[in-house]
C-alpha cells in the first residue's frame, strides 16, 4: 500500500508504529486531583511520548448552567493525557490519566466501564479530593488500587490509618510510590494487575 504526502502530517514516529498484528487493546485509568502526578506516571511507563486527547463540552454539561438548550452555551475543553505499552504483538495496553471530577468522565465513551481497573493516585496533603473518585468507582463496580504519591512535604500516615480514613476494605491494595520513577510506576500497575487477577481467581471459584 502506498500513501503519498505522509511526511507533512503529524503522526507517530516510525518506531512508534504498532505492528499490523495488533488487533485488541485494553485500558487502565489513572485518576486523581490536579497535580497529583497522573501525567508523570503515564510518561514514566509509556513507550510513546504521552499524547493528549481532548473533548469539548458545554457549560450545561458541567452542571453550572441554567439555560440548557439555549444558544448561549459556552464550550469548555477537557484534556486527558495517555500513553501506551505494547503487551504482545496482538495486544496493546493504554493508560489514561483522567481528571478527578466525575462530571468529566462521561465525555469519553466507556472510559471507566471498559477499563480493566483504575489506579487512584492520592496526595496526602489533599486526600479529600480523591473521595468522590473512589465513591464513583465503587458505584460503578470498577476495581481500583490506591497509590500514595510521596511528595516530600506531605504528611506520612501508616497504611492502616489511611485504610481506615479512606474506608477501604482489607483486600484493596494501598501502595506508596514515586511515579517519577519508572520502576515505581510499574510496581503500581503490577499491584493493580495482581489485584485484578485475585478477583478473577475468587470469582472463578464462586
Amino acid at each position: 500500500m502506498d500513501f503519498n504526502g505522509s511526511d507533512t502530517l503529524p503522526g507517530p514516529r516510525t518506531e512508534d508504529h504498532l505492528p499490523h498484528t495488533a488487533q485488541a487493546a485494553v485500558k487502565i485509568v489513572i485518576v486523581g486531583g490536579f497535580g497529583v502526578g497522573k501525567t508523570t506516571m503515564v510518561g514514566s511507563v509509556s513507550e510513546i511520548r504521552p499524547l493528549t486527547t481532548e473533548e469539548t463540552m458545554t457549560q450545561a454539561g458541567i452542571g453550572v448552567d441554567d439555560n440548557y438548550g439555549s444558544d448561549s452555551k459556552t464550550a469548555t475543553t477537557v484534556a486527558m493525557d495517555f500513553g501506551r505499552i505494547s503487551i504482545t504483538e496482538k495486544l496493546v495496553l493504554y493508560l489514561f490519566g483522567t481528571p478527578g471530577q466525575e462530571r468529566f468522565w462521561f465525555l469519553w465513551n466507556g472510559l471507566f466501564e471498559g477499563a480493566l481497573g483504575a489506579v487512584v493516585l492520592v496526595d496526602t496533603r489533599r486526600l479529600e479530593v480523591s473521595f468522590d473518585v473512589m465513591g464513583r468507582l465503587e458505584e460503578g463496580g470498577v476495581p481500583f488500587v490506591v497509590a500514595v504519591n510521596t511528595f516530600p512535604d506531605a504528611p506520612r500516615y501508616p497504611v492502616e490509618e489511611l485504610r481506615t480514613a479512606l474506608d477501604l476494605g482489607p483486600e484493596i491494595p494501598i501502595i506508596e510510590c514515586d511515579v517519577r520513577r519508572r520502576a515505581s510506576s510499574k510496581d503500581v500497575l503490577m499491584t493493580l494487575m495482581r489485584f485484578l487477577h485475585s478477583i478473577a481467581m475468587s470469582r472463578a471459584l464462586t
Binding site: 503522526g11 504498532l18 499490523h20 511507563v45 473533548e55 495496553l93 477499563a115 458505584e139 490509618e161
Partner: protein, 156 residues
C-alpha cells in the same frame, strides 16, 4: 495529625450519560439499517482463509447513529485515500496505515474525541477503515488476558 475520613459507597447502576454534543463541522451520517451492519460484519470475516474476528459495525443508536467507538478501538486503513476523500478523511487514512487507537488519532489530528468518532464512523460506513473493538472488563475476568498484561508489564 489525622487524615480526613470518607465513607465507602456501594455498587449501583451508573446514571445515564449526558446527550452527545453535536460535533462540528462534520455531519452525522445516517444510521444504517441493522441488516446493512450485519452484512458489513459478515463480509469482513469472509475473505479467503481469513479468521473471523469481531470487527466493529456501525450500529444505529437512534440518536445520531454514531458507531460505538471506544478511546482504544484500533483503527486500520483498508486502502489508500480515494480521490473523493475529504482532507480529514485522507489524513486519517494516511495515519492508520499501521493500527492506531481512536485516542491517538484524536491526539495527532487535534480533533476532539467526539468529532473523531463522527469522522471515523463515516470511514467505517464507507469501508475505508477497519475497526477492532477493545477488550473490556468482564464480570468474570479473563485470567489469561490479565496474565498476558502482567507478563508484558514485567518486561518494562
Amino acid at each position: 495529625m489525622t487524615p480526613p475520613r470518607r465513607t465507602r459507597r456501594r455498587p449501583q447502576p451508573l446514571p445515564a450519560p449526558p446527550a452527545p454534543q453535536p460535533a462540528q463541522p462534520y455531519e452525522l451520517p445516517q444510521p444504517p439499517s441493522p441488516e446493512a451492519a450485519e452484512t458489513t460484519e459478515a463480509a469482513a470475516g469472509r475473505g479467503p482463509g481469513s479468521i473471523p474476528e469481531r470487527l466493529y459495525s456501525v450500529t444505529g443508536s437512534g440518536e445520531g447513529g454514531r458507531a460505538e467507538l471506544d478511546l482504544v478501538t484500533l483503527i486500520m486503513a483498508r486502502c489508500a485515500p480515494p480521490v473523493s476523500a475529504t482532507p480529514e478523511q485522507a489524513a486519517v487514512l494516511r495515519l492508520c496505515q499501521a493500527p492506531l487507537s481512536v485516542a491517538e488519532l484524536s491526539a495527532y489530528l487535534r480533533l476532539p474525541f467526539s468529532t473523531m468518532t463522527v469522522l471515523l464512523t463515516e470511514l467505517i460506513t464507507a469501508e475505508l477503515v477497519q475497526a477492532h473493538a477493545p477488550v473490556v472488563r468482564q464480570a468474570l475476568p479473563d485470567r489469561s488476558l490479565l496474565e498476558a498484561v502482567m507478563h508484558g508489564l514485567q518486561r518494562l
